[in-house]
């Protein structure tokens, strides 16, 4: 026998590896830090343009505002990582807290007269969200629908559902149990921000260090290979839709808290911002690629831009258009950066 399996060939051929700098660059991009220099630049520019920008009050305000989008985007990332998408998350943001609200408030305030005890609020909202997620998983895994069409249908259905259960009327002051997370402050810091940070941290750790996270990346990268490696692919898909909807339900609760009401139009348009934030953060719509650090940077970028444009008193029509332009520019940047650093082509 000529070749031994255990010949001393080093698997880490150091000499042929890339230089330290380009290795740092690759890691920087792969970890999802691409957008942070841009973010820093924006903050510096912002400090000069609008004096009110770099105040702690405004910064906390930005964080509070992005926490709803942030949770939705983190939820969306679960589904996008496995190469699917979920448009119905926008519907969940509106539907879940509305359902909780009508179950809580008395009939006189627009409720069903069920008047569930306050502690049930979160239970109802998140339970409904979770069930919706499981329904999505069922449609994709068991029925075999393309998630674009099944979640699009559900999005429209939920939009109508909100109007049905609320009789077309927003519910004001649905009670502290439902609004606490979105409105209370601890030591001057909004609870919503704390929730966002905690969720982002936990999900970030799971994505990077937990076997479930690893399974998500594997399924998104090559579903058949994941199956052959012994991963229960169907269960991973179900669970991704479940967590996505659950986090969107939580986002909806935060939003209801901040507005102190469950509004019938709540969450409209948020799915577009969520996709934008995910892509800006380096999440590949083809699946298998993306980090929570990146997602957070995408969410912050959108939040900071909106805030700056408002502070700079740009007319609101222009705010919307320029947000769109920035999204495209940022997506181009992320894609180019990830291609140049890793040489792997991704679909974003």
């Amino acid at each position: 026998m000529s070749v031994q399996a255990d010949t001393t060939s080093n698997s880490n051929a150091q000499d042929t590896g890339p230089s330290k700098l380009s290795a740092f660059g690759s890691a920087f991009v792969a970890q999802g830090f691409t957008m942070f220099p841009v973010l820093l630049l924006l903050i510096i520019v912002g400090a000069f343009v609008a004096p009110a920008f770099l105040t702690s009050r405004n910064l906390i305000n930005i964080l509070e505002q992005v926490s709803v989008l942030g949770l939705t985007t983190i939820g969306l990332t679960f589904v996008v990582l496995i190469g699917r998408l979920d448009l119905s998350l926008e519907g969940v943001v509106g539907f879940a807290p509305m359902l909780a609200a009508v179950m809580l408030v008395p009939a006189a305030a627009g409720g069903y007269g069920v008047e569930l005890p306050g502690w049930m609020a979160l239970f109802v909202a998140l339970g409904a969200a979770g069930l919706i997620g499981l329904f999505n998983g069922f449609m994709v895994v068991k029925v075999g629908l393309n998630p674009f069409i099944s979640t699009l249908g559900l999005l429209v259905l939920l939009r109508g559902g909100v109007l049905i259960i609320s009789n077309g009327r927003s519910i004001y002051s649905p009670g502290e149990a439902l609004t606490y997370l979105g409105s209370a402050k601890i030591l001057g810091l909004p609870v919503a921000v704390i929730v966002f940070v905690v969720v982002a941290t936990i999900v970030g750790l799971v994505f990077q260090f937990h076997r479930y996270g690893r399974a998500l990346y594997a399924v998104g990268g090559n579903e058949e290979a994941a199956r052959a490696a012994g991963i229960n692919v169907d269960r991973v898909i179900w669970s991704a839709f479940f967590f996505a909807a659950l986090l969107s339900g939580l986002a909806g609760v935060l939003l209801t808290g901040r507005l102190d009401s469950a509004v019938t139009t709540q969450g409209q348009g948020i799915i577009f911002s969520a996709f934008a934030a995910a892509v800006i953060g380096g999440v590949s719509l083809g699946g298998g690629k993306g980090t929570i650090i990146g997602v957070v940077s995408g969410v912050l970028l959108i939040g900071v831009i909106n805030n700056l444009l408002t502070l700079a008193q740009v007319p609101s029509f222009y705010v919307q258009a320029s947000t769109g332009a920035v999204i495209i520019i940022a997506a181009v940047l992320t894609t180019v950066a990830s291609q140049r650093s890793s040489g792997v082509k991704t679909r974003t």
Binding site: M1, S2, V3, Q4, A5, D6, T7, S9, N10, S11, N12, A13, T16, G17, P18, L205, F209, H210, R211, Y212, R214, A215, Y217, A218, G221, N222, E224, A225, A226, R227, A228, A229, G230, I231, S284, G288, K289, S342, G343, V344, T346
Partner: protein, 494 residues
């Protein structure tokens, strides 16, 4: 036949991918009416060279002439220039699954076009049926391409290219998915077309095919030509292998350690492997043996292996173990691109995905240290060469990708390893390393099941060969046998 007129001339061709110099000033000439074999290890630059020739990827510099078209390469796309001069059949068929066979064969073909671009379905079907008959392919011309097996798809791709009527054809590993009968048909056509003046550039890892079909051989190594235009009659296997490797190589021989008394690890009873199977299969895998499943494409040997590995449910019957619980099984799938590795993930993640349960703690978090150690150990064992363990697997060569798939299958320290086409599309050096690995595993007491279409591979590896045909076991070879025995038994004439 006058063979002195060159139809293809490539001068000083270079091509760089990132920091890799894939072609370093290559000259390549093909005469009219010759079959020109291009051989070399994976990564030697064969595929890059023919891609530069067909315009599939554009060469950076150099001069190219095909037939009457001549131009200087500048890195710009020139495929359109030479569209009518050359056809390139890629390793993996690129058919439209949702179109019919006839539509696939005649896509963008002026022969069936009427006025205003309207397509004559009648003439297309007639022509397609005639072609299929000529090639002895027993399918309907209006079947969907997606329903066909791999061999037929490969043949269709070749027929499609041949029917375009170009003077030069590139066949890149055309026989990888073909059965022996299909190979025969292909070679007959190549010879006929050659006599009609068509030139072929033929890439193959199978040197026996090269000897059978080629007139002229060019050997490449590390992006350069090491032997140009050598008549095939003056070469032998040893010489070619040495030029490919750049050093003396010896083909490794089989090690026999069959032991009838070794305990059975895995046992199949009364298996019906698919819905076409007409008989039950009984089969067992013993400790320390390498058993090969041989047979023609579609014989059910792959089904049997998939069932043994727990990747597929049998039609009836079951797989058990005398020890009660089923042993841990490592699985190497047939097609590493489709189901072997996750291209955008690194070596580390690809390997450890095979053993997430043993690498994670009670809460499911992966123990980084343990993972790093295990992956490093397995990468050493399987000889994975990568710039780092974080390098995306899609960037590795075919051989290294396959080693990563092996490393993954070994993650949970299996008792049995089931490997389908373990060295498909892998160069000679990596092949020997994988053979050595499999022998090493068997000597450590694992049961090894190999499914292969290559007689050489089986003869080099397996202590026992089970021949599967039509969903049942028809023959078995144990212990000392020669490759001739094997072929005769597989053809059912021994």
């Amino acid at each position: 036949m006058e063979n002195s007129h060159p139809i293809v001339e490539m001068r000083n061709i270079t091509k760089t991918f990132g920091s890799t110099r894939a072609l370093r000033g290559v000259d390549f000439t093909v005469m009219r009416g010759e079959v020109h074999a291009l051989v070399g290890r994976n990564g030697a630059g064969k595929s890059t060279l023919v891609s530069a020739l067909s315009g599939f990827t554009s060469a950076d510099t150099g001069a190219i002439r095909i037939s009457d078209t001549r131009f200087e390469a500048t890195g710009q796309n020139y495929a359109a220039l030479i569209r009518d001069d050359i056809a390139h059949v890629q390793q993996t068929p690129r058919l439209f699954d949702h179109l019919t066979v006839a539509e696939n064969l005649f896509i963008e073909n002026p022969l069936i076009r009427k006025k205003f671009g309207v397509i004559s379905h009648k003439s297309m079907l007639a022509r397609a049926t005639a072609l299929l008959n000529e090639w002895n392919i027993d399918i309907r011309a209006n079947a969907h391409a997606g329903e066909l097996d791999a061999g037929t798809r490969q043949l269709l791709e070749i027929i499609k290219a041949l029917s375009r009527g170009v003077p030069v054809m590139i066949l890149d590993e055309p026989t990888a998915a073909l059965s022996n009968a299909e190979k025969r048909v292909l070679f007959e056509h190549v010879k006929t077309l050659k006599n009609a003046g068509i030139s072929f550039v033929y890439i193959s890892h199978h040197l026996d095919e090269v000897f059978e079909v080629a007139d002229i051989v060019t050997i490449m190594r590390d992006g350069q030509v090491v032997k140009a235009r050598e008549p095939v009659g003056t070469l032998d296997v040893e010489t070619i292998a040495n030029l490919m490797m750049g050093e003396e190589t010896v083909r490794s021989a089989r090690e026999d350690h069959t032991d009838k008394s070794a305990p059975i690890l895995l046992q199949a009873k009364g298996l019906r492997v698919n819905k076409f199977a007409t008989a039950d299969i009984d089969f067992e895998v013993r400790r320390g043996e390498i058993v090969a499943l041989a047979g023609p494409v579609g014989s059910g040997k792959e089904d049997l292996a998939m069932i043994l590995a727990g990747q597929k449910k049998p039609q009836s019957g079951q797989v058990t173990s005398p020890r009660g619980t089923l042993p841990t099984i490592g699985f190497v799938p047939t097609d590493r691109h489709a189901s072997g590795y996750v291209g955008i993930l690194g070596v580390r993640e690809n390997v450890s995905v095979g053993g997430l349960d043993i690498l994670s703690g009670p809460l499911g978090f992966i123990k980084g240290r343990k993972e790093a150690d295990l992956v490093a150990q397995l990468a050493r064992l399987t000889n994975v060469i990568s710039s780092s363990l974080e390098q995306p697997v899609s960037q590795l060569s075919g051989g290294n990708q396959q080693k990563v798939v092996f490393a993954r299958s070994l993650c949970r320290s299996p008792d049995v390893i089931v490997a389908l086409s373990p060295t498909r599309g892998v160069d000679v050096g990596a092949k020997e390393q994988l053979y050595a690995l499999l022998r090493d595993l068997a000597s450590k007491g694992l049961g090894v099941v190999v499914v292969s279409d290559e007689e050489d591979e089986i003869e080099q590896l397996a202590n026992r060969v089970t021949i599967v045909f039509g969903g049942k076991i028809v023959d078995e070879l144990v212990g000392d046998y020669s490759i001739k025995d094997l072929i005769l038994h597989m053809e059912g004439v021994a």
